[in-house]
């Protein structure tokens, strides 16, 4: 357990800059660390009202992905991350008919929580059902079966470009579904 610091911010900002330049592994490491930080905040704030903290973590990751162009690459990254987490938390409560106010300063005092296996079927898993068959094939090949883009392309006799496009559209559709609920 530790609090977030300027050093964390610089490390995460470096990872996200590499990710935006196309480095997949840097992006995965960035998202893993962000998931841990957001989980700490989500567990603290989602305790009441039937909001599942891990849902908030996952929706935050999706929003980070969909809105990654809103980060100014010379700005601190944690206020941006927690700004997105705050929005998803408020939205989760709103969908259950409740209004909450959250200050960013309050979140920044959050603590990093150790990661825990999340095995239950989540909303995002259900959102897969709303995709076209092609999108679902690709998204589940990569997410559930853990294949790379190249493997998925070979397995389903698709081009890598087609796999990337289907993945991108599928993820956009899932992200949009959360924005409209």
């Amino acid at each position: 357990m530790r609090t977030v610091s300027g050093k964390d911010d610089r490390e995460l900002a470096d990872l996200l800059r590499s990710a935006l330049a196309g480095d997949e592994r840097a992006y995965a490491r960035f998202l893993e660390q962000v998931a841990r930080l957001v989980r700490g905040f989500a567990r603290k704030r989602a305790g009441s009202g039937g909001v599942d903290p891990e849902d908030v973590v996952q929706e935050t990751l999706l929003s980070i992905h969909a809105k990654r162009h809103t980060w100014r690459t010379d700005a601190p990254v944690l206020p941006w991350v927690f700004g997105i987490a705050r929005y998803r938390m408020i939205d989760a409560y709103r969908k259950r008919g409740r209004r909450v106010e959250i200050e960013l300063d309050e979140i920044m005092e959050t603590v990093a929580q150790p990661e825990e296996d999340a095995v239950s079927v989540r909303d995002i898993g259900r959102a897969l059902e709303a995709l076209t068959p092609g999108q679902r094939l690709v998204v589940s090949a990569i997410s559930v079966e853990g294949h790379t883009i190249a493997e998925t392309a070979a397995k389903h006799d698709m081009s890598q470009v087609a796999v990337r496009v289907a993945l991108h559209r599928g993820l956009s559709a899932i992200a949009k579904k959360f924005g409209q609920g």
């Binding site: 990710a19 935006l20 196309g22 480095d23 997949e24 592994r25 992006y27 995965a28 998202l31 893993e32 998931a35 891990e54 973590v57 996952q58 990751l61 999706l62 929003s63 992905h65 969909a66 809105k67 990654r68 162009h69 809103t70 100014r72 700005a75 206020p79 941006w80 927690f82 700004g83 997105i84 705050r86 929005y87 200050e103 960013l104 990661e115 296996d117 999340a118 095995v119 079927v121 989540r122 995002i124 898993g125 897969l128 998204v139 990569i142 997410s143 559930v144 853990g146 790379t148 883009i149 990337r164 993945l167 991108h168 993820l171 924005g179 409209q180």
Partner: protein, 212 residues
Amino acid sequence: MDTDALIRTLAADITRPSWPLSRTWWAALAAATGLAALVFFTAVGPRADFAEAIATLRFPFKFVVTSVLAVSAFGLLRAISRPEAEARTLWASLLAAPVLVLAAVVIELLVVPQNDWAARLIGTNNIHCLVLIPLIGAGPLGLFLLALRHGAPPRPGRAGAVAGLLAGGLAATFYAAHCFDDSPLFVATWYTIPIAGLTAIGALLGGRIARW
């Protein structure tokens, strides 16, 4: 789907990122200005005595007020279209234009005889003003709302309202070049109403379009 699977999936999708938001705002401003200019010159154009009027005090002051409004709204809108924006960010800058107008109204009341107040307030062009500012501002408002949708505003409705203010300030800057009524009494009344209308429409649409 567990969180690790989600991270794996998102990482595989990190192809080229879309347009950075800062660039989007400048592009939207340029396109909105072009669109407003097009509607303005097609529909009405500048007043005939523009060259003489610009040497007076009241005529150029209209541009000062409307462009101060547009500039402050643009700065605020860019800030509040990002997820890390705090509720209190920069809102004070929006007071600049109203304070300028109020000061000008006070001076106008001091220098103009009371008998002329009503005529200056009502002016000759007020229906024009109510119609043309929304007409010129509608396209820009649409563009700013699209840019806002590309962003991630923590409060989409409020951000939409500021987009309406920006569209109103931009439209009023063009409209001011056409309008013969230069008294601050007229501006404070007949410019405020359509700009407030655009702001309300922006708030309403922003709350729907810019949710994410």
